[in-house]
Structure formats: structure tokens, C-alpha cells
Symmetry: C2
Subunit: 186 residues, 2 copies
């Protein structure tokens, strides 16, 4: 694998403490006390209850104008003050994947305003999207968010807004894992 | 991996005999006498000089109207009379992958007429596209074509037409491997 691969591991150890884990739709994931998030491929081990992998990749829907707006305001991961995070693995239905590119874009942005909605929460909420459908993983995407504790309500609002969209009617598995950076860890 | 994964192996054995192997641009692949093409993941072995993997996936540029036209006329792989094939692994530049979705679509179809050009050779030439950029493979795509011997000239014409496009200025590695179904094999 290449340097765009990231591994998320749930288990007994990890830099992030799980504060809440909710199955929004579909099959759940085993509950875990900690999550680790690493660049590269990491193997499963006894201390890991589950291991999920994804790769950062090229944009699939964003136009040039949207991309420029995003680049201008989106923050990087790893800000010291961003002690809250969320890992939200998502799978979409076969029906979604059978849609043509223009139909998916139409639902994603023209109807569901996914890009515009997300942009309203920048730069407070840093995000990274990992693709995994073509890796044969159980989810299609691993979405990762980081923010300061004071932006918790804003993050909840963002997540609820997206779940109310037409796009989300094509989501058939979603787990919402909320995290706090472990205080005793680096 | 899942049932959308395909493995292409070049080496001493394989159902397809290599009749010609040309490096169009970029680093070459070792010359081999045979190519095997299998569904699923196959490991490297002594008799294999190279192993390439890709997955069939959702369409990235095709609109609903184009998709319907394609579905109506595109043939399946494995036609008994299609005794000629081509495996053309392709990599595109980082510049291509940094383009936004609308810019890539603009170059792919509005300027380069990739879909319309390919459609002119249907149903004579059966095709299957395998994606591998996100798998950490050395190529971004493994393109596979099957046709009858009488359509050899048409296939050459198609390949030359695509190589003359704006889209192909973003291709920085391409190997053209021509194949004949081995007569002594099933």
C-alpha cells in the first residue's frame, strides 16, 4: 500500500478515548474503549477489536470553484486544541453506486448541499475522507473529524443536517464514534 | 478483497499468448510470453514475472444518458470468437488527479470525446476497466479489451485516436500488450 493509506483500530489501547458509540443504521461494530488512527497499514492484533482501512484520494464531486473555496478555509488535522474527534464509517447502497456520475453529483450537492453545508462549519471542524469501497472493506468511507470541545454542538448540528438529506437515504450502514484525546497520552 | 477484484499475471504460463508488448510511455514492464487473467486475488509465484491487480468499480464520468447508451450496446467479455485481446496498463500524472471532477470530465469527454470514441467501436470491441490507483498499485488503470481477429485494425484505430487526445497528455506510463488466446488451452 502507499502513503495515502490510513488504519483505524478499535480496542483496548489507542490515543483516543471513546466517549460514545452509536449505530445509526445497519450492523453495529463491537464497542471499544479506545481508537488508534495511524498512517499506513497496521495488522490486526489481540488488543484490537476491529481494524478499518481507507485511502485519501482524488475528489469525486467537487468542482474547481468549490475546491478553491475549500482549500482557502479548510484546516489541517492535528491542531493541539482539537481534543474532540469523531470517526464515522459509512456504507452506501448498491443503488447509489449504480447511479451515473451526474445523478450522484445531483443528489450529493444540488439536492443535499453536502459541500455547502460542510463548508459552513469550516475552519472549526477539520475533516479527512478515506475511501475504502474498492479495497473490499466493510464500509465505503471512513470519515474523520477533529474539533475543539466548544464546537461540539456545531458538529452535532452538521451531522444531523447531513443525515436529513436525500443523499443519506442511500446510506445503509453508519456508526458514529465520538472521541476525546487521551489526556495521559502524547 | 471482494468479487470485483481481478488479477493479471505475466509469465511463463497463461491462457493468453503475448504477440506484442510495447512501452508507449514511462517505465517498461518485463517482457513475458504469456498472460493470465483471473477473477480474485492471486499471489505472485516463480512462474510470474509480474502481477497486477485492479477492481471494477462505479462509473466516474459517464452521465445517465451515456450510461444507457453504453448498456444497450456493450458486449460481455469471453465471447468465443474474440480470440484477440489487449491489456493496456495506464498511469496518469499527479496533475490529473489534482484536477477537480468537473475539470477531469471536461477533458475526458467534452474535449477528448473518450466515451463517444469508444462507443463507435461497440459491440466489436468488448472492454473492462479495472481501477487500481487507490490499491497502491504501480498503475492507475488496467484496461482490457477483447475482439475478433478481423477487428484488429479497428482496435488499432481506437487506441491511436485516444492517444492523440488532450486526456492522454496526462498519461505518464502506458504499456500496450497484445494477446492471442492460446490454441492449446481451454
Amino acid at each position: 500500500m502507499h502513503d495515502r493509506t490510513f488504519t483505524f483500530m478499535g480496542g483496548e489501547v489507542g490515543a483516543w478515548d471513546v466517549t460514545d458509540m452509536a449505530t445509526i443504521v445497519g450492523e453495529s461494530l463491537p464497542s471499544v474503549p479506545h481508537v488508534e488512527f495511524l498512517r499506513g497499514v497496521e495488522s490486526a492484533s489481540d488488543s484490537r477489536s476491529w481494524v478499518l482501512r481507507g485511502v485519501t484520494s482524488n475528489q469525486r464531486y467537487v468542482t474547481r470553484a468549490e475546491q478553491e473555496e475549500l482549500v482557502a478555509i479548510q484546516p489541517t488535522l492535528g491542531r493541539a486544541e482539537s481534543t474532540r474527534a469523531a470517526l464515522i464509517p459509512i456504507r452506501k447502497t448498491d443503488e447509489w453506486w449504480r447511479l451515473s456520475q451526474d445523478e450522484r453529483r445531483q443528489i450529493f450537492e444540488e439536492q443535499s448541499r453536502h459541500i455547502v453545508t460542510g463548508m459552513r462549519y469550516l475552519p472549526a471542524i477539520a475533516r479527512q475522507l478515506h475511501h475504502c469501497r474498492d479495497l473490499g472493506e466493510p464500509f465505503d468511507f471512513l470519515t474523520w473529524f477533529e474539533y475543539e470541545p466548544e464546537h461540539q454542538a456545531a458538529f452535532d448540528e452538521l451531522v444531523h443536517a447531513l443525515r436529513a438529506t436525500e443523499e443519506w437515504t442511500y446510506v445503509d450502514r453508519e456508526i458514529d464514534i465520538r472521541l476525546t484525546r487521551g489526556s495521559a497520552r502524547s
